[in-house]
Symmetry: C2
Subunit: 331 residues, 2 copies
Amino acid sequence: MSRKPNLKDVAKVAGVSAITVSRALSDPDKVSEKLRAKVEMAVRQTGYIRNQAASALASSRSGVIGVIIPSLSNIVFNEVLAGIYEMAQPSKLQVLLGDCHYSPLEEEKLLATLLSQSPEGLILTGTDQTDHARRLLQNAEIPIVQIMELTDSPIDMNVGFSHFQAGFDMTRYLLAKGYRRVAFLGARMDPRTQQRLAGFSQAMADAGLEPLVQSTPQASSIKLGGQLLRSALSGNQGQLDAVFCCNDDLALGALFEARRMNINVPGQLAICGFNDLEASALVEPAITSVAVSRFEMGKTAVQMLLKPEQYRHQGGGIIDLGFNIVGRASA
Amino acid sequence: MSRKPNLKDVAKVAGVSAITVSRALSDPDKVSEKLRAKVEMAVRQTGYIRNQAASALASSRSGVIGVIIPSLSNIVFNEVLAGIYEMAQPSKLQVLLGDCHYSPLEEEKLLATLLSQSPEGLILTGTDQTDHARRLLQNAEIPIVQIMELTDSPIDMNVGFSHFQAGFDMTRYLLAKGYRRVAFLGARMDPRTQQRLAGFSQAMADAGLEPLVQSTPQASSIKLGGQLLRSALSGNQGQLDAVFCCNDDLALGALFEARRMNINVPGQLAICGFNDLEASALVEPAITSVAVSRFEMGKTAVQMLLKPEQYRHQGGGIIDLGFNIVGRASA
DNA sequence: GTGAAAGCGCTAACAT
DNA sequence: ATGTTAGCGCTTTCAC
């Protein structure tokens, strides 16, 4: 037999009907022990593997969830992904992953392709989906979780934390330490970075201070952190006593650059970051940062997909995972 | 109409037959311009999205490829993934991604689940698949690419580089610089790490030197690099003049730790790593490392899946992407 | 607890 | 260039 074995083939070998094999595989309890054993033998013997396309067509359950993240190269999303997979794989859920490169339009296109796979749920990053995307999602009638940010009006469910509040709190932390000339170094300037910036600006304004900002739409990197620091310093005649980097990559770059420029950290310049990457705790001086439970966020998102009713009736399907300012030597 | 629109619904609206709609969508050139326009209207009007399960069942083409990597948290694989997606998304190929946590057994299980989705191709990491996995793969009769390592006898196709050679060459590089008491710091000790170690041992043996090794099965991390360095030093009475870390995370950790211990790098101790992460080039002193084209590897793997005949007849379906030793101040 | 029949939505193969 | 027919492999429904 050269073609791939199907249910009938297995059924023939086991001496039962196809539907019995189907049941033995997907709902073993509904089949007598004897037949179950026979079927198992036959499956092994034939090397049968269920055709998920046929199964999905007949049952309208695809066994797949869709995930769209803005970037595969940003380590931050990998930890979220790791959390997603941690929950999904044991549930025998396959994950269809898409990378929209921070573009809502690409996200919209990906969405259309994803939806054609009839996913049983969807995890999307952020809240800036296009109108058309939202329409697609509405029609899909599947559970949807928006992650990373917090929103009052999720498409369906939402898990994340407030980037505004985190930016605000971190700035207050710096101000409480006595820093006054604080600059925000930002790269990419995606919605979440902008919210952090907004929090920063608010806190500075509240304190009657000028919010200094050095930003670029370029993708973030360690190297860029060094460049932004130089720009910020030259743009402000070196009159800075702290920089609040929109993420730890920039912060590391700024720290390395400061060392090259013989600027003492935190003596002459305080540096803080965002995300609390492993390196931040281990460099010298260790970098003050905002810790976020990314792994947890991924896990929670999948749990929400698995039991949507439960979560929708619990805080309106919105979960705030919060954040944590980790004070270290750099500030 | 509350249920999701299908081809017939669209056909009715457009006043054509279902198959025409199907063709207009998947092979526009085969349909007259007039009908194509009509169909497009009808699709938009109904909000139709193709049911990929039905399509896959009828055509036995799923539009999906499967990818299994050993770890989602290891940044190295993310860059490979980024390359994979870079090629896959424009080809409208969906990627089913699995994380086998460095376990061939988990890989085998994932494989079974993946295969039930009838992927059109498979990308696997490394060459240590279980026997049963190999049997499954043989029966699948789809193009398969093993990535990262190089092997003489791939299951189907192979793209990667020789970790043994890289370990060997890096060691020779150190020896040429005059270092003699060189220790290999290894974590995780997955097959590729072991090959690097084998290359190191060979080069040391060739030079008549004792290959010092400090290793642990623990997952690699920056922190662990510091710990391994301490162990290596205390295990060898501080009599080391260089450490060859199995990756850059360890190398960074070793460097940070050395600084804390007031050990001058490279004056008292040379440090080199593997993978050439961004940080390695930017820390002080910059870390000597082995550069590998991971992004390229991912892209190549997908290309091989797309045109298997072409690549199979070209070097037996094996592509050596090589590596590049990047000498920097740390050694 | 098991089976027979029907049909999920699409496309391949064969008309026209 | 367009339509008709049949069937992909499974599960749902209903019968026993």
